[in-house]
């Protein structure tokens, strides 16, 4: 497992995925996200500040795409609390 904070940025992950922002918006919706279409794009471009949850939600949305391609979570997550 790639350690927290290492891996691709949201922006680089988005570029590598080849996804449209509509698809990323849909994927984050499926994960429980509430960001609008333009907000999702702004988060990825770094125009809006993400908190840890919002960032990791988008990271998971991108990584779900990569999992479907047989890759292993290349997009980085922010630090997460320890889980027992």
């Amino acid at each position: 497992m790639i350690p927290d904070g290492q891996g691709l940025s949201l922006r680089d992950g988005m570029a590598r995925s080849g996804m449209r922002f509509d698809e990323l918006w849909l994927r984050q919706l499926g994960l429980g996200g509430d960001a609008g279409l333009l907000e999702v794009e702004a988060y990825v471009l770094g125009l809006l500040k993400t908190d840890r949850y919002q960032h990791d939600l988008l990271a998971q949305a991108l990584n779900e795409c990569f999992l479907e391609r047989g890759e292993d979570h290349p997009v980085a997550y922010r630090s997460q609390p320890a889980v027992d």
Binding site: I2, D22, G36, E39, A42, L45, Y53, Q60, H73, Q80
Partner: protein, 231 residues
């Protein structure tokens, strides 16, 4: 308000537009000035009767360049608004096709322009950028300019931009959302944590087990259902 706060204001308003969007439009014009260091003007041109008008502008410079085009009845902002095509003059050269605009730009030291048509608005309209250097609207600057145009379009239209997804895709996403919500509720309930902490647990399992978070969520929900049956 810093730049991120300005983007937050504009994008929030674009997600839920209100009738009185004047203040947000002014913020959007300020953001337009910030898409690139060379940007010195930003404005919105829209059809008004048989002509055009500037609905919003960042400064007098942008307004002056818009007016030069309206007076000549030609220019990149009119063309973008009327034809629905991006008009990029990079660099702005003297002479046709927009001689009056080129002359006005030259007097103001403006060397390039970008006009992006606004989609699905009530009147033909365009978002204009003016810069003191050629090649300003490329890469990140262009992406920001295009995003700003979509946000301004939503403000003028009075409704957010609809995602280009099918009903089937939306239904599937909503089903997955419901599954995740149930799994989060199970984990939060059993562990006494928050829903966000439960999400983090699911993410961690996805990473360590190299599996889709939805497969893991289905197991969590299924396991809970099994426990309920057993009891």
């Amino acid at each position: 308000m810093d730049t991120r706060q300005q983007w937050a204001q504009v994008l929030t308003a674009a997600s839920a537009p209100v009738a009185d969007h004047g203040a947000v439009l002014r913020t959007a014009m300020t953001l337009g000035l910030g898409v690139a260091p060379a940007a010195v003007g930003c404005s919105v041109t829209e059809r008004a009767g048989s002509g055009f008008r500037t609905a919003a502008s960042a400064n007098d410079l942008a307004l002056a360049l818009d007016l030069a085009q309206y007076d000549a009845d030609e220019g990149p902002c009119l063309s973008a608004a009327s034809r629905g095509r991006v008009e990029r003059l990079d660099p702005i050269l003297p002479g046709p096709p927009y001689s009056a605009f080129a002359a006005a730009a030259g007097r103001h030291g403006v060397r390039s322009s970008l006009s992006i048509p606004l989609a699905d608005v009530n009147r033909p309209a365009a978002l204009n950028f003016y810069a003191v250097a050629p090649g300003f609207a490329a890469g990140d600057a262009l992406r920001e300019a295009e995003l700003l145009a979509r946000a301004v379009a939503a403000l003028l239209r009075g409704r957010p931009e609809p995602p280009r997804v099918s009903d089937g895709e939306l239904a599937e996403a909503e089903a997955r959302r419901e599954l995740l919500e149930r799994a989060r509720a199970v984990l939060a309930g059993s562990g006494g944590g928050t829903s966000e902490e439960a999400f983090a647990m699911l993410v961690r399992r996805s990473r360590t087990e190299r599996r889709s978070i939805f497969d893991i969520a289905a197991e969590v929900v299924g396991s809970e259902a099994g426990d309920e049956v057993a009891s």
